[in-house]
Symmetry: C2
Subunit: 254 residues, 2 copies
């Protein structure tokens, strides 16, 4: 699948494309932004698509990397076709990005070939980043040891088991690590990273194009605002997977 062919069809985005090209032209030649996304089974589609929407408007060279070249399932039933496998993907890129999804992340954080790939790519990328439970994968690969970081509210405390300093905040930035909270934090994460990769005016232009002026109809996006009853209901069903994540991180503490 040639992503550029598809991207070329979207004449409506040419405004931003042009702005992004100008921003990239300000960099030394040959240093166009590359974003390598780990694609793992049962990931949550929104964790991938929200940041990807921003990266795409930055005209980044986007790579979708998976263990094999087979289409990868998502929770929505919309499969994602990798552009590279661990065997063919470059290790170096501007941004290494890992989306989440609890069930998928818990399974994949126990897959040694994925952790090896992440460790190698993380060591050679300018930015090491995640949204939602994607940070469990970074942690399991040893990439958050000694860094401030966050994750989905229901697992973020586990990051401490891998040496991370669990930090409050929708998006946590520590040196070249940028980690976001659960699912929808991918928008705030993407715009924060866009400001780092290009500049604040570019990030604001993307925000305007995406009309990102949120107005949630309810105030229940965190355990504190949702209250104990709803939080308990969610945790009750998530706990078996959260315990699997805890065990997986314990096993790596040797």
């Amino acid at each position: 699948m040639n992503r550029r062919d598809f991207a070329g069809l979207l004449a409506g985005l040419s405004a931003i494309a042009s702005l992004a090209a100008k921003a990239q032209n300000a960099q030394p030649a040959g240093t166009a932004t590359s974003v390598t996304c780990l694609i793992h089974p049962n990931m949550v589609m929104m964790d991938l698509v929200a940041p990807l929407t921003v990266f795409n408007l930055l005209l980044a060279d986007i790579r979708l990397v998976a263990k094999s070249s087979d289409p990868v399932s998502t929770e929505l039933g919309l499969p994602v076709v990798p552009t590279h496998t661990f065997a063919t993907a470059p290790r170096q890129s501007t941004v290494l990005f890992v989306p989440g999804g609890l069930a998928g992340s818990v399974a994949t954080m126990q897959d040694q070939s994925t952790l090896n790939y992440l460790a190698e790519a993380g060591a050679q990328s300018d930015w090491v980043t995640s949204v939602c439970t994607g940070s469990l994968l970074l942690a399991a690969a040893g990439l958050l040891d000694g860094y401030r970081a966050t994750s989905h509210w229901y697992v973020k405390d586990l990051l401490a088991m891998a040496g991370a300093e669990v930090t409050d905040g929708r998006v946590v930035h520590d040196r070249n690590r940028l980690t976001g909270g659960g699912v929808t934090a991918g928008l705030d994460f993407g715009l924060s990273l866009a400001a780092q990769l290009a500049d604040e005016n570019m990030a604001k232009t993307i925000q305007l194009v995406l009309e990102y002026d949120p107005a949630p109809p309810f105030n229940a996006g965190t355990p504190e605002t949702a209250g104990e009853e709803l939080t308990s209901r969610v945790l009750e069903r998530r706990n078996p997977l959260i315990e699997q994540a805890r065990t997986a991180l314990s096993g790596r503490q040797i």
Copy 2:
């Protein structure tokens, strides 16, 4: 593609699945929520995925309907495979939903077979809904005549040409019409609709699972907050497509 097979893989979402099943059990038997999404070439993936993430957590029966069974391109280069064509899709559903994307919407609003399908499905669905420039398609199909509605900020005024009463607001609700603003409004739209289809507690639980507690790093999501310079830059490049949309709606005013 059997979406239920994929959905079944996501054990981590079983909490909400169970809650949704309970909510649906409160309805008369045989009235499970069905959501019919129009899939059109060059749509913006995020316009589809944000609402779909909410509909999926509601355990809705989701149909992806396109003109033919070929994979449909999106601006991200991730194609979407339809589950139905206009020939095979049922006209009746709980929700008819149309995502946007300016270039794609402008092309598709001039395709008579799509407008015919929308008019038929709209007349037989409990809810007629859109995000972003998807409302241009509803308007072109005659489905917003006499209704309050909105769209992406750069085209919403055009809806008046099709008899709509253009209304301020991130999500506009008028009888069985629910229309959202640009791209990221799909989250606020999805949660608003979830509260209507199930109840407020279900919508709040989904908000908590998606950790939707937005914290944009900048305040530039509207022309008013982004300011004249950034707004002009975006409009300058969008204007040719906006003019095409205007012409398309003029042609339908006969």
